[in-house]
Symmetry: C2
Subunit: 419 residues, 2 copies
């Protein structure tokens, strides 16, 4: 089987290494040799790994129009021109394996239809959870289940930042800067820390779990920029750990609840112990109950592991999947949760009563109220609510921010219920 590799960055180099290193064992397993025939790069002058010698091209049609190439492996990243190359490959009857979460999240429905029409496979295990097997288990192992709910830590950078903030008592900015220096975080960290990367992966999981297609832009997404070391300390005192959670659930009325939000996770939940760059996905099915899949959600070799597994599946002629329905979304304001809120306000008599008064007017009752020490003329007020309709909470927070004594609502974190 001959492969055309598009992209020779971190993941692409991993794919080359892996086929080099484990090629013999793979050949023994599937009864044929996997060979990378051509590799598409942008800059032909750049120094490349030695295994790539003699295979480099800058012309995508060297791969697309090569009749010997059965599988196009797209690991360039970014939406364009990866999307266009994948379409061209499918239209030419080639199977496509990709690690591109952005393309699959935004255009998966269209690409899957196109692949089905052209009788080729489109596989994308590496697009969610790096090396963690999650796409294939959802498609195959859990095929007999109606899936109720998925809850995942889908972004390694944010989980690393939150883990370091907790274990070393550091600020968000401090850990982010360090992570950027070490190469764990991008220089423009928006995709990770603001939750967009997790939202794309969540969109892919919702399609597979619930057969409902949602564009990542339609997923309510809140990242971890506003999480302070105080939030993490309070959470710990309360028996929780703050994680950036991607959540999906199909209601009985077929509405899809899907959001990315910081959540306080209790110690009883296995997601609580998922630290550093590890990812994990909890899945609840009506027959199987609760499952968790855990592993490295990114990195050269773990991601390459998933890509090459897909290539092997193509060799085994595993059939492709069906299309999805468009999701009807449940608005975030219609969801119900306990909330943790940290407010910075003037340290004056009567402020607490004004703040809690606003919440009371919106019908929100409180589990606990903590007024922490003053910071100069300001004080930090920490509140935890009982289950509240998010619309009421958002309205109350708007009102609270308008109070002249209040500087800002500094943190809003969902709190998970009993496990």
């Amino acid at each position: 089987m001959k492969i055309g590799l598009m992209g020779l960055g971190t993941v692409g180099s991993g794919v080359v290494h892996l086929i080099e290193e484990n090629g013999d064992a793979i050949e023994k397993k599937i009864g044929q040799k996997i060979e990378i025939k051509k590799i598409l790069v942008k800059d032909p002058e750049k120094k490349r790994i030695k295994e790539a010698q003699g295979k480099i091209t800058i012309n995508p049609y060297d791969i697309l129009d090569d009749p010997e190439i059965d599988v196009v492996v797209e690991v360039m990243g970014k939406e364009h021109p990866a999307l266009e190359y994948m379409k061209e490959a499918i239209l030419r009857g080639k199977n496509v394996v990709t690690a591109n979460k952005e393309v699959i999240a935004k255009h998966g429905k269209e690409l899957i239809k196109l692949a089905s029409e052209n009788n080729v496979n489109l596989l994308y295990e590496a697009s969610v959870g790096g090396g963690i097997p999650i796409i294939r288990p959802l498609k195959s192992c859990l095929a007999a289940n109606k899936i109720h709910e998925i809850k995942g830590i889908l972004n390694g950078t944010t989980n690393y930042i939150l883990t370091e903030m907790k274990s070393r008592g550091l600020s968000f900015e401090g850990v982010l800067k360090e992570a950027q220096q070490k190469g764990y975080a991008e220089l423009d960290p928006t995709d990770d820390v603001d939750g967009f990367d997790a939202a794309r992966k969540l969109a892919i999981l919702c399609a597979l779990s619930f057969n409902k297609y949602v564009m990542p832009d339609n997923i309510y997404t809140k990242g971890i920029r506003t999480i302070s070391k105080e939030d993490i300390k309070y959470a710990d005192e309360l028996g929780f750990t703050i994680k950036l959670i991607a959540f999906g659930k199909l209601d009985e009325d077929e509405k899809l609840e899907a959001w990315v939000h910081p959540v306080m996770i209790s110690k009883k939940n296995p997601l609580n112990g998922v630290n550093g760059v590890y990812n994990a996905i909890l899945v609840e099915g009506n027959a199987v109950g609760r499952l968790m899949f855990y592993g490295q959600g990114a990195g050269m070799m773990p991601t390459a592991s998933a890509v090459v597994a897909d290539v092997i599946d193509v060799a085994n002629h595993i059939p492709t999947q069906n299309g999805y329905d468009d999701a009807v979304m449940k608005d975030i304001v219609d969801t119900v949760s306990k909330y943790y809120i940290r407010i910075i306000a003037l340290d004056k008599p009567g402020v607490m009563s004004k703040v809690t008064g606003v919440l009371g007017q919106e019908g929100i009752s409180l589990v606990s109220v903590v007024q922490k020490e003053t910071l100069g003329e300001y004080a930090e007020i920490v509140l935890i609510t009982h289950n509240a309709l998010t619309k009421n909470l958002f309205d109350a927070l708007d009102e609270i921010e308008k109070l002249k004594e209040v500087d800002k609502v500094a943190s809003v974190i969902r709190v998970e219920g009993e496990e």
Copy 2:
């Protein structure tokens, strides 16, 4: 697609319920209806679930010789006559799906060869880890990896007992009796508490992970009967939790290390937090790094979930696997580990020095020695060794048991190294 179901106990009833409940969704996914045509039972007089009406037979050949039946689902349990029925089904060109860990562990190699020769599928996802997807991920998602090591909590009954002993400070016998009353443990609990059930599952995982076939009887197996509440308390003080671990590793010289043994698992290891009837399997691959699969390892609906997923795979014509090599085993005495040892000895001067002297003669050095309070005329000595060759440890323990001051070596638990 028409199914012949062999067995209508817990798992069989679960399969019937699941196909009834999720049948429409499954039909939508795979484009054909799954129908249970006949059900083999031992006692035709017994009252059965209403969905089974009109399908019951006591003659296996009603299923084996029915040309309309594509798939035989064997959920009778026990080695015989399940093995013979499966062979007959394969020889008649029928696909076989089974949850039978005993048959697959002992006869998997032969059955897989027979299935391959007869061009049918033999699938057994439910034989390990109940509903946890582990067989298919090992075969497919990790196909690009060389797997180094597997480490699992594979038996729910023992994990439940150990969890209850820890959380409620109870003795092994006390929790076992309670578990038997609740139906969580068999009246003859040997298969579970002595580790034989875990050893069978480990044999299946070793075949899939390392391509090495080992009979369960050749796996060194030690259960949890000798674990006392004191052991659990000491482990906790040291930052560990005691788990019954099934371990497999292929050495560089292709020797298979495989054992079932109580192990002290550190808090940093994700297996530490796997409690109650949950199972989990850690897998280390050379590309993917460390993965964990977590879920309910038994129970009616989780196991049925795995069985029906296999049936769906048959419908999708997923190809079957290759055969395995026979394993060359690494003897348990050639393995190296830290050990925790609890000894009951007369509370006399000089006993400690005799005990530690024997260990020293065998070249075993100690991390710590604790002499706990006396129990009447006896005292409890708790030792933790540095890494020791198990042969030396076993020799030393033999010597120690011969000392006239020593009543017995009460517990021997492996201690995992740094994670």
